[in-house]
């Protein structure tokens, strides 16, 4: 459909957080997007194409908002889009106001404001199935008459009402908005306008809705009493997380082994086909070892996001937020900080962008500065590599895996340090009282298989894409840095002269001096550019129990955390001498020895490295987004500095403390 025969229609989708707006947007446009179950998930404007009976219209998904009062950035953005004040965005021809039927009064407040903008509005009534299950009744025709705009009941999951919604949008597009609502026209002052709006809404709801008066305990409330209990709730939260981590380790073992064997077989196949030389080394030791080393963790990433999506979609994560909210407010964090912190468990970038919902600059900056401390999915391969190498198969009480406990400990460490940092910041550099915050607990729902699979597959694709692009490029560069310069025999073996080295061991006599002397690969690696860099920083990282090879991997991981795994994989492949048998990364780590022949990796070293990764700022993308969102180099550098300093200090304490306690 075209506006005035030329321009496509622009439709804006507006609604409260958690009203089902994003689900409806996905359903109407078919785009894959994150759908969550707690307030405030939609932070950015998203666009899609909506097929209106053969003609396409641009559908804009506005940020989730409670009003258009423009107290937060989200509200300001939405208000400007509706008013047509945003550059390169057409003023909407129609606004679809998404209204949660189970929270009519609250949701209609935004609708009442939308009516004042002179743009035709249609109300899309969501959660209608839940509303009907609660045995309430709604007269849609009556509600439409009271509001003065069309009302359509929709269900994105079953496609109910989608066709009708498209027809209504087509019919009212281009018309002059003539809503009956004009209550605020007579009201003087903001307070009077608010009262007028609520009066208008109350009348409309009373006229059209018949609530079920039978007193019955709602299952949701009963469950909430347990899940949000300060003792039982916390215990259940810990139990759920332990179960999730345990499942991630046990279920992912087989596919991970298969993937590892698969990459090993591909590497051997390449070696068989290609003649020995630089190309075979690059493909096998650089590309396959580097990218394959990261890709083997795909099953764990899939499982992690499967569980996160299920917990999110059922509504449990909102209860977890409620549990931690009291703790967060005690340290001075804004209630709205929970969503950015939760998002940061997947990736810090959407988490930092989600802080736009926090109005107060100081509260917002505090949240930005602590969000990267949440253990993002890029840390998962590092944790699981370390746990797989040194703690696999160990249990506590015979059934709780030590790996799951350690994983939970790493996630908890990130949260605890974040709260401590927030506590300090809110009392020093970013002093401000926390504003009151009302949290909405969404109803429990059966998780939508489609949504869960969509979330899981989106994350899996991102992981594979990242491995195939950035990590591939970094792996090749790192391999080159570890391969070059090719050492001359005299440089590699300074203690031997050419003629001495050429002595035939069988006869004890000098051999043919023209015979090329093979330099051990471990020696080549030591003399490579990366090796020299590693040795340069070795004195700094030695107190943490790390040798120069770990140092090289640490430096590389400042580009992206997973690169640690690919770098270690390349290092132990490149540094492997010809007579050494091929082995997995885990066994290579277990058997690795330093220049003096001592074992490099111990459980304590692995734990120290994990602690370092929990706290260190090793993500270029996060640095970039913090700079953009704070518009300040000072705060960005402060974040990088405090996180790296904290990581070093905590790792030092872990390693030296562990050694003082008798651990190796």
């Amino acid at each position: 459909m075209k506006e005035n025969g030329t321009k496509p229609l622009t439709i804006a989708l507006a609604g409260n957080p958690n009203a089902g707006k994003t689900t409806l947007f996905n359903s109407l446009t078919g785009l894959s997007q994150k759908v969550a179950n707690y307030p405030g998930v939609t932070v950015e404007r998203k666009e899609g194409t909506w097929d209106l009976d053969g003609d396409s219209a641009t559908l804009i998904d506005l940020p989730g908002l409670y009003s258009l009062d423009a107290t937060s950035l989200d509200e300001e953005i939405a208000r400007n889009i509706i008013a047509g004040k945003v550059e390169n965005v057409s003023r909407p021809n129609v606004i679809v106001s998404v209204v949660d039927a189970t929270n009519l009064e609250r949701n209609l407040y935004l609708t009442s404001q939308l009516l004042e903008y002179g743009v035709p509005v249609v109300v899309a009534l969501t959660m209608i199935d839940t509303f009907e299950k609660q045995k309430h009744e709604i007269d849609i025709q009556k509600l439409s008459e009271c509001l003065g705009v069309p009302v359509v009941a929709v269900n994105a999951k079953s496609d109910r009402g989608k066709q009708e919604l498209a027809e209504v949008v087509r019919s009212i597009a281009g018309t002059t908005h003539g809503a009956a609502y004009s209550a605020t026209h007579d009201a003087a002052g903001e307070t009077a306008k608010i009262f007028a709006r609520y009066k208008f809404i109350s009348t409309a709801v009373q006229e059209s809705v018949r609530h079920n008066d039978r007193r019955e305990h709602r299952i949701s409330e009963k469950i909430d009493r347990v899940l949000t209990h300060k003792v039982f709730g916390l215990a259940i939260l810990i139990l759920i997380l332990l179960t999730v981590f345990q499942a991630i380790f046990s279920w992912a073992t087989l596919p991970m082994d298969l993937l590892e064997q698969g990459f090993g077989a591909i590497g051997n196949g390449v070696r068989d086909v290609l003649p020995p030389g630089i190309l075979a080394d690059l493909i096998v030791d650089g590309i396959i070892a580097g990218v394959g080393g990261v890709l083997v963790f795909l099953p764990q990433i899939l499982l992690l996001f499967l569980f996160i999506s299920i917990l999110e979609d059922t509504g449990y994560l909102a209860r977890a937020a409620f549990l931690l909210d009291k703790l967060m407010s005690r340290v001075g964090l804004h209630g709205k900080a929970f969503l950015p912190m939760m998002s940061s468990f997947a990736c810090a970038i959407p988490g930092i962008m989600a802080t736009r919902t926090i109005e107060n600059r100081r509260d917002r900056f505090t949240t930005i500065l602590i969000a990267p401390l949440m253990s993002c999915s890029a840390r998962l391969p590092v944790y699981t590599l370390m746990i797989g190498a040194f703690f696999a198969g160990q249990t506590v009480f015979g059934f709780v895996s030590v790996g799951a406990i350690l994983m939970l400990a790493m996630y908890t460490l990130g949260i605890v340090v974040a709260l401590i940092v927030a506590f300090v910041l809110k009392r020093t550099l970013l002093k401000a009282p926390p504003p009151p915050f009302i949290m909405e607990l969404p109803p429990y729902r059966m998780p939508s298989i489609r949504t869960v699979l969509q979330n899981m597959m989106t994350r899996a694709w991102l992981f594979v894409k990242r491995a195939g692009t950035v990590i591939l490029a970094i792996s090749i560069i790192l391999w080159a840095l570890m391969y070059f310069p090719r050492s001359e025999p005299a440089a590699a073996l300074p203690e031997l002269t050419q003629s001495e080295a050429a002595i035939d061991p069988a006869t004890g006599r000098p051999g043919d001096p023209s015979v090329e002397i093979a330099i051990p690969e471990s020696e080549q690696l030591r003399n490579s550019y990366a090796g020299k860099l590693g040795h340069l920083i070795e004195p700094v990282i030695e107190p943490l129990g790390f040798d120069w090879k770990i140092g090289v991997a640490l430096i590389a991981s400042f580009a992206a955390r997973e690169v640690l795994v690919s770098t270690l994989s390349i290092i132990y492949n490149v540094g492997k001498d010809e007579n050494e048998e091929s082995e997995t990364l885990i066994s290579a780590i277990r058997n690795a020895k330093d220049d003096k022949g001592r074992i490099v990796w111990t459980p304590l070293t692995a734990l120290t490295l994990m602690v370092f990764f929990v706290l260190a700022m090793q993500c270029m993308s996060t640095v970039a987004i913090v700079r953009r969102e704070t518009n300040s180099w000072s705060w960005t550098l402060f974040m990088v500095g405090y996180m790296t300093g904290l990581a070093y200090l905590a790792s030092f304490v872990t390693y030296q403390g562990g050694r003082a306690l008798g651990f190796e």
Partner: protein
């Protein structure tokens, strides 16, 4: 044979360096609050997103 191997390996390394440079430059540009370029394609987060100021 070794010549060909060297050329192919060298080309692969150069392409990787060029790609990494492009990514680094894009990240550099994304550091600016006025930037309209998404900074996190590789991360997959909001590659099409604009900064708040750009939207406003």
């Amino acid at each position: 044979m070794m010549e060909a191997q060297n050329i192919i390996a060298g080309s692969i390394i150069l392409i990787a360096v060029a790609y990494a440079t492009v990514i680094a430059l894009r990240k550099g540009r994304a550091l600016s609050p006025k930037s309209k370029v998404g900074c996190s394609d590789d991360c997959g987060c909001s590659s099409k997103s604009k900064s708040v100021k750009a939207v406003l």
